[in-house]
Symmetry: C2
Subunit: 333 residues, 2 copies
Amino acid sequence: MSHKPLHELSVDEFVDGITGGSRHLLSRAITLVESSRPDHEAKAHTILDRCLAAGRRATRIGITGSPGAGKSTFIESFGLELLRHGLRVAVLAIDPSSTRSGGSILGDKARMEQLSTRPEVFIRPTASSGYLGGTSPRTHETILLCEAAGYDVIIVETVGVGQSEIVVNSMVDFILLLMLPGSGDELQGIKRGIMEIADAVAITKADGERTGIAQVSKSDFEAALRLLPEKHPGWKRKVLLTSSLDGTGIAEVWQNVSKFMAEMQANGQLDSTRQEQLRLLLYTIVEDRLKREFFGNPRVAAERELVERHVLSSTISPFSGAMTLLGAFRQEK
Amino acid sequence: MSHKPLHELSVDEFVDGITGGSRHLLSRAITLVESSRPDHEAKAHTILDRCLAAGRRATRIGITGSPGAGKSTFIESFGLELLRHGLRVAVLAIDPSSTRSGGSILGDKARMEQLSTRPEVFIRPTASSGYLGGTSPRTHETILLCEAAGYDVIIVETVGVGQSEIVVNSMVDFILLLMLPGSGDELQGIKRGIMEIADAVAITKADGERTGIAQVSKSDFEAALRLLPEKHPGWKRKVLLTSSLDGTGIAEVWQNVSKFMAEMQANGQLDSTRQEQLRLLLYTIVEDRLKREFFGNPRVAAERELVERHVLSSTISPFSGAMTLLGAFRQEK
């Protein structure tokens, strides 16, 4: 009788559901956040405002590495370790290349077979489409929703090939870089920028006959890290040997993250970093909306074609063209 | 008696001077373009509008490569080769890290000792400071001014380590990637993105005892290029062996560029690329100005502190904060 169609849940229902731990409502709120429909967006952010009042805070870990570095299996093992500590875990996978289809969502869950069956775990891909360099403010907002939902650890997975790490670095507390053993050559190949933002390096698949070469890689990476400037004053970045096969080092990674969080909390860096991240998000949203308002403006739309034609034919300079369009945007009806 | 202080030259004087080939007035116009003072900017763009009417078009070449690849010596040799063809040459050096000081400008000229003494050559560093990723619209506008000044070839030099190549790619016709011989390992290190936007690769310092290893590198790069998707349909990217010491291959590079320009002109790709580049510049300027107007708005300035405080303390979401600031921006006095 009181059956409501999916889209008619109230803000209250959403907020109660999310803070009460409903994965289903969390998921639907994220869909609202990711929507470009103005009504969805407005509702999503009323929900987000209310959720923030809960004041919950998770440990946010960015996990990155080249394709083939074993991210999914590492996250599976690492997630199960977190569950043994009684922690609730959210895994957000960023695909910078495209909006994932429903099929790929299943893909993420299939990649983390055991983790995905556990009720304390929330797994979700997060779209960054339409944002150059994957700088979607939506991923950050999704993290905020997951925090409000009471997840203790939020893992943001990225592929270490583009700009997405830099962006993720502006949303998380700790960046873990995964590397294969014997990737001394890869030290050349991997972008220096990614090494620079890592708070720890985990060498994956350090088991069986790869143990020896993993040790060599460990020394190589330690040497490389020593040459880089400190990311967080006082924090010495470690290189850890791990194996998702036999469990080597997985607990140590979490110990390392916990130690980091405790130190950064104590010395105030965590608070200041989070504030800086929120400031960045605020202005990312501002810029995003400004552009959308500009291009959605009917007077701008009406003048664009003519202005473009004049600019493209070099009749006027791009600067003069820009001034004309900005004038149209500013002008009141 | 009619001595005018430097800043009082009229638009007419500038336009006549630039199109008449005055390096001094070209240089001063570029300084105006790079200025953030609104009156300078407005004047610079009135000048630019007028200059565009001249309808002159140069061959624009982006030259990139890792530090140490021998860019300066290559450009010196290449530039002298162009002069032998009776061409006038402008060299713009992009320093993505900082605004160059006057000292560094001298540095550029010292790096290109012979070139810098020739009256047919204009050498100038171009600032990209304040733009993330070096995406300064000013470099593009500087190119337009150099074209109006009648330079036949404009060389834009960048360091192949960041995003600046991608940006330069949006302003030039042809990208030449410089690589040292024996840098087979470097194939791993160099960003794939830079290989992808190259229209030709020149192996530098291919002389003396390095000739053999340069030959090997040539084959390596040719193989690597074959694996990459075509950048311009129909254009086969070449790897050329060059030496600034004995002049090997320098003439061949210019032949290759000339062939490219002729083909792209004939098949219409040059026109369509230039138009796409102008469209991009138009909207880069629009976004840049929009942001400046937003942050310069007195109502926004008045509300920023309070909004930031609420966002940073998680009293309101960044989205709500952004909406408040955008509301202040929109509101008429």
